[in-house]
């Protein structure tokens, strides 16, 4: 049923069957092969092949509804929480299939953290927001270690100086930009390998956005980062590699400066030059 719908779709959209550019990288952290996602009958992602490199930022761009967020949510199996969503194909994290029966989704998400579009601090204190992940995964043996993790995470998220005197206030009392950095601190606290960011700055003002972008650049030293963004300037500023999605297809992927200066696919060029999107 969905197969026939898919073939009709691909006839209509006339996208090159194969992704243009270098989908492979040496020693990838994530390796995705022929990934399909269906929401009920809707074919949201079509045969996507891409590798994700370590210590690098991968930006995913494309018009609304093109499937970039959907693809991002495949990487930590957040699509499991959506009723009627189905993921096919192979996704490996450090060579292990994340859909394998042995793979515990809880452990997967501890290794692959996620930051969302709207800051979503828990209804707890600032301290407890950061301590939540380490607590549920038992990362701290005692209160002292937990304090250290919270301290380190807030420092790395560039929030420590602003909140060190008010750790016991609710996380919701912070400003939007601070809340988003709190969410990043919360993610770092579990010490993941990869951080997924789904339009992390779309609800923030330009100053808060600049702080987050600086932060992303620093975090790249230790983590692989995938960021979905609608801002092409942001993609150009923070990423080393860029992937362009269109109507569920991965059209082109390559080094960011190449994609933005010399795109190979017509669709990518049209999008980057602002002809649509």
């Amino acid at each position: 049923m969905s197969d026939s719908a898919a073939s009709v779709d691909s006839l209509k959209t006339k996208v090159p069957a194969k992704t243009i550019g270098d989908i492979t990288v040496p020693s990838p952290v994530f390796s995705c092969r022929d990934v399909d996602v269906f929401y009920g009958d809707k074919h949201a992602i079509k045969k996507v092949n891409i590798d994700i490199a370590r210590q690098q930022v991968l930006a995913m761009i494309g018009p609304s509804g093109c499937g970039k967020s959907t693809f991002l949510r495949c990487l930590n199996r957040m699509n499991d929480t959506i009723v009627g969503a189905r993921v096919e194909g192979q996704i490996t994290l450090d060579g292990q299939d994340i859909h394998e029966k042995r793979q515990d989704v809880v452990q997967l998400r501890a290794r692959v953290g996620m930051v969302f579009q709207k800051p979503n601090p828990f209804p707890k204190t600032i301290y407890e927001n950061v301590a939540y992940g380490p607590r549920i995964h038992g990362l701290a043996a005692n209160r002292g270690e937990l304090d250290d993790i919270v301290n380190q995470s807030l420092r790395r998220a560039g929030l420590w100086e602003e909140v060190k005197d008010r750790l016991n206030q609710p996380g919701t009392s912070l400003s939007g930009g601070q809340q988003q950095r709190l969410c990043i601190a919360r993610t770092i606290a579990v010490n993941p390998e990869v951080i997924l960011m789904d339009e992390p700055c779309s609800a923030l003002d330009p100053i808060a956005t600049a702080r987050i972008e600086d932060l992303i650049d620093e975090l790249r030293e230790s983590y692989a980062i995938c960021i979905v963004t609608h801002s092409m300037q942001q993609a150009a500023r923070v990423s080393q590699r860029t992937a362009y999605f269109h109507l569920g297809d991965l059209v082109e992927v390559g080094e960011t400066n190449k994609i933005f200066t010399n795109p190979q696919a017509k669709l990518t060029e049209d999008y980057i030059t602002g002809r649509f999107g």
Binding site: T81, G133, I136
Partner: protein
Amino acid sequence: MTPSLLIVALALLSFIAFQIGKARALSVAGGARGIRDLHSLPGHYGMLAALWAGLPALLLVILWVSLQDRVLIAIVTSHLPASVMALGQDGFTLFLNDVRNVIAGNIPASQVSAEAAVAATQYVRLQGYSRMALTALAFAVAVLGLFITRSRITPELRARNSVERVFEGLLFLCSLVAVLTTLGIVLSVAFEATRFFNIVPASDFLFGTRWSPQMAIRADQVGSSGAFGAIPLFAGTLLISFIAMIVAVPIGLFSAIYLAEYAPSQVRKVVKPLLEVLAGVPTVVYGFFAVTTVGPILRVWGESVGLDVAGESALAAGLVMGIMIIPFVSSLADDMITAVPQSLRDGAYALGATRSETIKQVVLRAALPGIVGGVLLAISRAIGETMIVVMAAGLAANLTANPLEAVTTVTVQIVTLLVGDQEFDSPKTLAAFALGLMLFIVTLVLNVIALYVVRKYREQYE
């Protein structure tokens, strides 16, 4: 014309006035093209004419009808022969009752005294005149209103503003009705309660531990002098409400968690309405259930383990009341849990939290104020609940914490005090109002706290 027929006629006249006003506005404007020169739409001018034709006349009718009977009786009384006036207070009241019964046609004129028959005839005759006068006057006022308004219609007349002001006033009056009713209830209960506290000291009522409201009515009667210590009643109410909450809060909350977080949508579609059916069962039916099923079962179980359970026990009443409140708790908690944004759940899942960790530490935490508010509302319902406890809790005012004994509640005592013949100057009857006042204050405080908590919670996520 009878007043009801008159009101229909006035409504008709208002409708005609609407058409006249609208037509006048159009002709003043010089046809449909000129509408833009008018301050308001033609319909507004029509409505203004209709209001001026209808409202003053309607107010007149209402005022007239509410005063008519008093005036007519006064006139009839002033013409009565001296023999009737000599009857004294009680006799005169009986005489007036006869007159009214004849007027209403309940008894034929031949069965009452000649004076009463004459008075009744006179009343009916005067009533006829009064109605004619009212009809003429009301129509005069209506037509006058219509023509004055019609002559005032010019392009500058701000008809829309006036019409909207009148409707705003009507809306205000409607909302005032609910507020005034509440105020009226409070005042009437408070007034009767003050009379009670004049006879029985408030400290005896509030802190007394013996409740035995039987009073000797006559001096020569053998009977108790009455004791009005309300503590056993409030203790019984609290005991039963406590048992009810022990049943309702966990079951309601857990079923809400299941429905909101775990249940597949098909199960939710079936179970949620079924649970809400429980809320639609009349409380008197729950009462049957408590008396005929739960009470005897508890008794048998108690005997089998060597416990002496009263036929009417606090436990039976509390259990059934708890079942009654389950849908109340679960539906409120379900709303609160569903209102927790999905982004919070996503945030927890993305950190690697399991479903149960997410629910316990994030979702319930976020929904807690709302759930607490819902539980407080449920408690105030349990305290005010009457029918189940009347049927299943018993009448004996025991001061006990043992749920296996019969206890009585505030609401049960109010019912027993006010059922059957009563005199409204005895403390026995007046005690009901004092109890009612206390109950009202307690539930009011609970409701205010609950609404405050719920509102605070809502602000957080909107």
